[in-house]
């Protein structure tokens, strides 16, 4: 195989705020570079998980290699590395960018710069990438490309005067983008003879090939038989296959050398061994230093997941095991709840990640789940000097043993048009936000900066933000660190018995309000029993709110004729089935959905 000329390679990502047209542009690039005919094009080639297509977001970073014949008559290899577009997956975005030499920045010609535009551009600039701005959706009636160009120049400070004006949806201006990629994104460097140094930017578990490692070769060369070592995890294996990425398929090749993007398989059993951000080197001839910036991904949000049918516990365990093969950022460990039985405490990057996993478990593994309220990781400093990282509220030590507690704080940036500044600031105040400052982007838009406790944004902050800005606000955050906070455990007692699965940690000042709303919600969810059921919210044994479910007095089918008997039986079967799906706490039966509905304590 002929050596590939490094100068003819372009490794790049497309970055954008959500819905600005990243995936559509990716599709067009793949189309125009002729790797696939239009006929073969599915709507969004890069997003090959069903779930992604439905949600319209890209979850796992993936890559594709295409060949472009430029106007200068030369053929260029484009490695397009897709990045996830959501804040939960910031670290993965960062690693994807580290594998590139440049980035195409897509900005919506009508909406202009949004919070994630900035966050992504700053990430790209942090990685010293050359950023090629592109103005998309110029065919929209409300498009104002000139204004957006000025915005890019003023706010981000990059040259945008000759940014291609395109419509990815209608295929307008795509050639321009391709030419600019050739002209403005630098070719990779790196010595193919040097010791191997490759960056893992993603990995995938395949039941035939084992783990497939997605990597960018920085230095050196890797081929079949090379004994490789993952520098952070220490795992060593012999390479079975190397190759590059066709659209939706893996195409084996002889070798991957410095500057190239491709995959390695080495009969690795677990994606945990191939952590994103880790450096692959040759075991016999390792490079001196790993690539910078690797960090272990930490789960930020935890919740309990229980099978609705207790007998499905082993199925849930198997499903989590399989999902984890593909998703190293998913954590889980077994736990037991008095109310819910055997289940797992699972850790996620964020709430979206949680929802994605929950949906995959339900859809791909056909599991019915009961999920407890998501919480963050609290640090509990005990009087005996011990520090606990608390992921399950039930494990909170006795208050007398607690010296103080800390909660995670994020730096949040919210982009909003000026008319909504007031209501968004109010929202941030309610959520215990600390105002850091505000910058005007242009006359009518501002960037609000707040410090917010993570546990205030994992529930419904995003929804509240959208509803209070009529959908205009955009939001991005990253973790700042831990700070001391006045936190308490709120317990729920049903018929005077504490229901462990309903306990959660809350700031002392919001305890009463949250407790009251929990009780109201539960009152609606718990069916009447033969006796009256008090529902109480308590902090440290002191009841702060109460509701009552009245005793059932009537449950009767007045009429029953000969023709009704089959129907009557179905009705009773349903009633019985409904009962089976309830959880017994003391002598009260609680429907599974009660455990979940309390997650959505509607914003007033």
């Amino acid at each position: 195989m002929a050596m590939i000329d490094q100068s003819k390679i372009r490794n790049f990502s497309i970055v954008a705020h959500i819905d600005h047209g990243k995936s559509t542009l990716a599709d067009r690039i793949i189309e125009k570079t002729g790797l696939l005919t239009s006929r073969e094009m599915q709507n969004q080639v890069l997003d090959n998980m069903d779930l992604e297509r439905e949600r319209g977001i890209t979850i796992k970073a993936q890559a594709v290699r295409t060949v472009y014949r430029a106007k200068d008559g030369e053929e260029y290899i484009f490695n397009l590395i897709d990045t996830p577009g959501h804040v939960d997956f910031n670290y993965e975005v960062s690693r994807s960018l580290a594998a590139c030499d440049g980035a195409v920045l897509v900005v919506d010609a009508a909406q202009g710069i949004e919070a994630q535009t900035l966050a992504n551009v700053y990430l790209a600039l942090d990685h010293d990438l050359d950023v090629v701005p592109v103005i998309n959706k110029i065919d929209l009636p409300s498009a104002d490309p000139q204004r957006v160009i000025e915005e890019i120049e003023d706010v981000i400070g990059i040259e945008a005067a000759d940014a291609p004006l395109i419509s990815a949806k209608n295929g307008i201006g795509i050639e321009d983008v391709l030419e600019q990629i050739v002209a403005k994104i630098p070719a990779p460097k790196g010595d193919p003879q040097a010791p191997l140094k490759a960056l893992i930017f993603d990995s995938l578990y395949d039941s035939y090939k084992g783990v497939i490692v997605f990597c960018r070769i920085m230095e050196g060369t890797v081929r079949k038989g090379t004994r490789i070592r993952m520098m952070a995890t220490g795992a060593e294996e012999n390479v079975v296959e190397v190759g590059y990425f066709g659209a939706g398929q893996f195409i084996p090749c002889e070798e991957l050398s410095a500057g190239m993007v491709g995959y390695i398989t080495a009969s690795i059993k677990n994606v945990k061994d191939t952590a994103v951000g880790d450096t692959v080197t040759e075991a016999e001839n390792p490079c001196a230093e790993p690539l910078p910036g690797y960090k272990k991904v930490l789960s930020m949000v935890y919740c309990g997941m229980y099978p609705a049918d207790g007998a499905k516990y082993p199925d849930l365990r198997d499903a989590l095991e399989k999902l984890q093969l593909n998703d190293a950022s998913l954590n889980y460990e077994p736990e037991t709840s008095l109310a819910l039985g055997f289940g797992f405490r699972c850790g996620f990057l964020g709430l979206l990640h949680l929802e994605v996993i929950q949906e995959r478990l339900e859809r791909e593994y056909n599991l019915d789940l009961v999920t407890t309220a998501p919480g963050v990781v609290y640090k509990v400093y005990k009087t005996n000097g011990e520090v606990i990282e608390l992921t399950n509220p039930s494990n909170l030590p006795d208050p007398s043993e607690i010296e103080h507690m800390e909660e995670p704080i994020v730096n949040a940036e919210i982009m909003v048009t000026s008319e909504f500044i007031g209501s968004i600031m109010e929202l941030c105040q309610e959520r215990r936000g600390r105002y850091l400052g505000m910058e005007y982007i242009e006359g009518t838009r501002a960037l609000l900066k707040y410090e917010l406790p993570l546990n205030e944004i994992i529930y419904d902050f995003f929804d509240a933000l959208k509803s209070r800005s009529r959908g205009y606000a955009s939001f991005d955050y990253d973790i700042k660190g831990y700070e001391p906070s006045k936190l308490v455990k709120l317990d729920i007692l049903i018929n005077r018995e504490e229901v462990d699965a309903l306990s959660f940690i809350v700031h002392a000042d919001s305890a009463y309000e949250r407790g009251r709303r929990m009780c109201e919600k539960l009152k609606d969810e718990i069916p009447r029993h033969l006796f009256e059921i008090p529902i109480q919210a308590a902090v440290g044994g002191k009841v702060i709110a109460r509701e009552t479910v009245k005793a059932m007095r009537k449950d009767v089918l007045a009429k029953c004729y000969g023709g009704d008997i089959t129907r009557k039986r179905k009705l009773l079967e349903k009633q019985k089935e409904g009962k089976k799906r309830m959880r017994q706490v003391g002598n009260v039966e609680i429907p599974q959905k009660a455990f979940m509905s309390v997650l959505k304590l509607d914003d007033k």
Binding site: K554, D555, V556, L557, A558, C560, T566, R569, L571, K576
Partner: protein
């Protein structure tokens, strides 16, 4: 007659002058021609199917609807002659027809009597004309009084009157007035069915309810109505023999008791259900198809498993205040009801919802259990 098994016949007449606002039964208005062809199809179905039931004797006939009295009395008489011609009809069989005020005359009722009907079921629902209008009845209380008088004149003694509680706008007082008017008649009905309104999907009332236009009595009032029904009727010699049915001694509806004790029955006409030899089946509900081929369109057929038979024995038997006969259960299933349902029985006795009769022979719902019968019955489902 010995050696023959008992069989009940049900005939469904789907026609009404107009559909009531609470009704989700298979019924609609029909022109005279449609009614006539429907009756022809019904006769045909009887003739074509009767051959399957030569081992049976018919102990009761029930013509229900709909409003059977919108069909001509000649056709009704012809229906009974067809039954006599094709089945072994016992001399003492209970033969009921449902009628609604506003659709009968004295002559019509006399014809029914002459044809062999010996029991009448009159749909009154309420003695308050405002309440009748609310639920979409076509008649007034005055028209009921006429109908009732004619029925007596025609020679009917075994008469049921249907009334309803928990109607929109109904107060406890107005409901009690309906009850009292009924039992203060010169010759009060021997049987009263007192149902509490259930909102069914797809009815006018449900639509109104969902639009928030309906004021229904609250649960307290609803239960007070039920308790008052029992108290007042029992004071007047009626016995509550089923959740919603009351009768003077000897006048329980044998046909309906048959349903609850799982006597075999065959339903004729569209949508009509049957239970024969532990198989439940049903005619298709489509009218056009029925007119074309009255015997050929079955909608669903289900052979009941032993478990389902036990479930039915319990949840149907418990509808009767006499409850489930333990010995009959044992004869039928070769095991005791306690072996099968011991835990459920004990739990519900503990909760005050079930009890054994004093002689220990039967298991029945308590007063409290009657109001919570679904809750109890669901526990008898495997």
């Amino acid at each position: 007659m010995s050696g023959k098994r008992n069989l009940e016949l049900y005939f469904h007449i789907p026609f009404c002058v107009r559909k009531c606002n609470y009704c989700d039964f298979l019924s609609f208005s029909g022109d005279e021609k449609t009614k006539a062809s429907y009756m022809d199809a019904l006769f045909r179905e009887v003739r074509e199917k009767a051959g399957n039931y030569t081992d049976y004797q018919v102990v009761s006939v029930f013509v229900g609807g709909g409003t059977p009295s919108v069909v001509s009395e000649r056709d009704m008489a012809a229906l009974l002659s067809t039954v006599r011609e094709c089945f072994v009809l016992r001399e003492d069989a209970e033969i009921t027809i449902e009628v609604n005020p506003g659709t009968v005359t004295l002559e019509k009722l006399k014809e029914y009597r002459k044809a062999g009907f010996n029991r009448l079921s009159i749909g009154l629902q309420s003695a308050d004309d405002g309440e009748l209008r609310q639920i979409g009845r076509i008649h007034t209380y005055g028209q009921f009084l006429d109908t009732y008088g004619w029925a007596l004149d025609a020679g009917f003694e075994n008469i049921n009157v249907d009334i309803m509680s928990a109607l929109p706008g109904q107060s406890l007082a107005s409901y009690v007035t309906t009850l009292k008017k009924l039992i203060s008649l010169p010759k009060p009905p021997v049987h009263i069915s007192a149902y509490s309104l259930i909102l069914e999907e797809g009815t006018v009332l449900m639509d109104r309810y969902e639009r928030g236009e309906l004021v229904l009595p609250d649960e307290e009032t609803d239960r007070a109505m039920y308790e008052e029904t029992g108290r007042i009727l029992e004071d007047h010699g009626y016995h509550r023999y089923e959740i919603s049915n009351y009768a003077l001694p000897g006048f329980a509806c044998r046909h309906n008791v048959g349903y609850w004790t799982r006597t075999d029955y065959v339903g004729f006409g569209i949508g009509a259900a049957s239970l024969v030899g532990e198989v439940r089946f049903r005619n298709d509900a489509d009218l056009a198809g029925y007119l074309e081929d009255p015997s050929g369109r079955e909608a669903d057929r289900e052979e009941l498993t032993i478990e389902q038979q036990m479930e039915e024995t319990m949840f149907l038997g418990l509808r009767l205040t006499a409850g489930v006969d333990r010995a009959a259960f044992q004869t039928r299933f070769k095991t005791t009801v306690e072996k099968v349902y011991g835990d459920v029985i004990n739990a519900n006795i503990r909760d005050g919802l079930l009890r054994y009769t004093d002689d220990g022979e039967r298991l029945c719902l308590t007063e409290k259990g009657l109001s919570l019968s679904n809750y109890v019955m669901a526990q008898f489902i495997f």
